[in-house]
């Protein structure tokens, strides 16, 4: 059992936004109620068709995706996806994305009375252009957004960021604006060239790079935040494929751990991790394990 911001999670394992869709397909394979939580796929105000194919590129120890936030838009989401999510006996986190601050705020208003426990503002999608759910270059904008979101939101607010040089600064500003937690990390920017055809595989060139390859980067990002902001709740993700990966994230400071690409490789991974962590924490305190690797850390 994990307590975070007054909410109780059965276990620290949640599904990250995106790879698991809105849960219906995944629920044919695993019992979502066994998990600590489920983050819905980022929803936007209007429907988005997503990017043209191909959308998936396999690379060593990872995958590059160019989904482009395909989603049905908020109306259809509320009608067709939210009821299913709300029917689950697990904590729901709603991920929202917008082109402008007011879009984020509208989405919060529309979803404020849902059964979800948190909002996660997706500020770092690598698959859309600037100002489209890709605010992370602009810490002032993030400050403003969080400040206003906090005014109207009935739920705690997490912001989701990628690994970047100014992460500490951005998070500091978001904390000043009242943010409740951070989700780290979104997929990184990655690219592959088709050397036979001599062209970019993805039509946008760059896609979102995820999977085991990015795990060291995710851990480094969380480490940097955790050691500066010891009490800030963190949802950790990036290449978690087994319980040992999960333990690395917990020991470096993640309160919850989220599985993204892992469910694509094998839908049963989240259940296996939940099970293995339960065994592990028979002998060890979960609370004390969070961030334990930072103790006595010699920073120079």
């Amino acid at each position: 059992m994990v307590n975070i911001l007054g909410f109780t999670f059965k276990n620290p394992v949640i599904i990250a936004s995106g790879p698991g869709g809105n849960g219906k397909e995944l629920s044919n394979y695993i019992d979502l109620n066994r998990l600590g939580g489920f983050t819905a796929k980022t929803v936007t105000l209007k429907e988005r068709p997503g990017n043209p194919p191909p959308r998936i590129v396999n690379v060593k120890a990872g995958i590059i995706n160019s989904i482009g936030l395909q989603n049905p838009g908020i109306d259809k989401f509320i009608k067709e996806d939210l009821p299913f999510l709300e029917s689950l006996n697990t904590n729901i986190i709603l991920s929202i994305g917008g082109d402008t601050k007011s879009e984020y705020l509208s989405l919060i208003e529309r979803l404020n009375d849902s059964k979800a426990v948190f909002f996660e503002l997706n500020l770092s999608c690598p698959n859309v252009s600037k100002h489209n759910t890709n605010l992370e270059h602009d810490s002032d904008a993030i400050y403003e957004l969080v400040k206003e979101a906090k005014k109207i939101s009935k739920k705690p607010i997490f912001i989701k960021l990628g690994s970047n040089l100014f992460l500490e600064k951005i998070v500091k500003r978001a904390i000043d604006a009242g943010v409740d937690g951070v989700s780290l990390i979104n997929s990184s920017k990655g690219l592959k060239v088709d050397i036979k055809k001599k062209r970019l595989i993805l039509k946008r060139g760059i896609g979102g790079f995820s999977g085991p390859a990015i795990k060291p980067i995710a851990l480094a990002a969380i480490f940097n935040i955790k050691r500066k902001f010891k009490h800030l709740p963190i949802i950790g993700m990036g290449g978690i494929f087994d319980y040992k990966d999960a333990l690395e994230f917990i020991m470096i400071g993640a309160n919850l751990i989220a599985i993204g690409s892992g469910v694509m490789a094998d839908p049963e991974i989240p259940i296996k991790i939940a099970h293995d962590l339960e065994n592990y924490f028979k002998n060890d305190s979960y609370e004390k394990t969070i961030g334990c690797a930072l103790e006595g850390f010699y920073d120079r």
């Binding site: 995944l26 796929k41 690409s261």
Partner: protein, 233 residues
């Protein structure tokens, strides 16, 4: 599901691989499985050419990283198989018609499977490969070798197709585009290919534009009535 490679035959560019699954994994023709092998993190989609009990046979073209590694597999090696995935041909096609099966390269695999299970729905078969190489490992009376025949399988079909014939085709997107254009007045079902992530419809990795919006090839397909899909973006 843990599976054992029991037999593997290879040519330079092709593999026929027999595996034994741990439990029976019933596959309808047109469905596919996600296969993963040692050294890879994410699995890739393949449609079996045959499946009986715990036995499954695959026809694989060596085109890239994973298929090159597959070529090195030996009997006794283990691979991971997940499925069945996708919609069976039989659930989407008009069962009151007979079909000309057109396979483009390894797209032939699920059609060969289909013929085995539903021979009564098949009018004619043509499995197109560019060179005769495939004959080293695959015996089938309906192989069409472009370089031998001097024409593509589509051209050949054009010569004998009748006005009310229907087509079931499987192959690369370009092959299917060409068929759609050539046979635009016919009832034609195509099994589409796309790079896949999850294989079960949740990651939104394998889109196709249809008249009723964007669908996922892995879940809503891979078979579609070609009049309903738009193959350009």
């Amino acid at each position: 599901m843990k599976s054992l490679v029991t037999k593997i035959q290879t040519t330079e560019n092709y593999i026929i691989m027999e595996v034994e699954t741990e439990h029976i994994l019933k596959i309808e023709p047109g469905q596919f499985v996600m296969i993963n092998i040692k050294g890879f993190v994410f699995p890739k989609p393949f449609s079996p050419m045959d499946q009986k009990g715990k036995k499954m046979v695959f026809l694989i073209a060596v085109v890239g990283e994973m298929t090159s590694e597959m070529k090195k597999l030996k009997p006794g090696d283990h691979i991971e198989i997940r499925g069945p995935l996708g919609t069976p041909f039989i659930e989407k096609i008009d069962r009151n018609r007979q079909y000309i099966l057109i396979g483009g390269d390894c797209g032939s695999a699920p059609l060969i499977h289909f013929k085995n299970i539903y021979p009564e729905l098949v009018k004619k078969e043509i499995y197109g490969f560019v060179t005769p190489e495939i004959k080293q490992i695959l015996t089938n009376d309906n192989l069409h070798i472009d370089k031998v025949e001097g024409m593509s399988p589509l051209k050949k079909v054009e010569k004998f197709i009748n006005k009310d014939d229907a087509i079931l085709i499987c192959g690369s997107t370009n092959f299917i585009k060409a068929a759609k254009k050539k046979f635009k007045d016919y009832l034609i079902y195509g099994s589409l290919e796309e790079r896949m992530g999850c294989g079960i419809g949740m990651c939104k990795g394998c889109p196709v534009k249809t008249k009723s919006g964007i669908k996922m090839i892995c879940k809503d397909g891979p078979i579609f009535n070609l009049s309903e899909v738009e193959l350009e973006w």
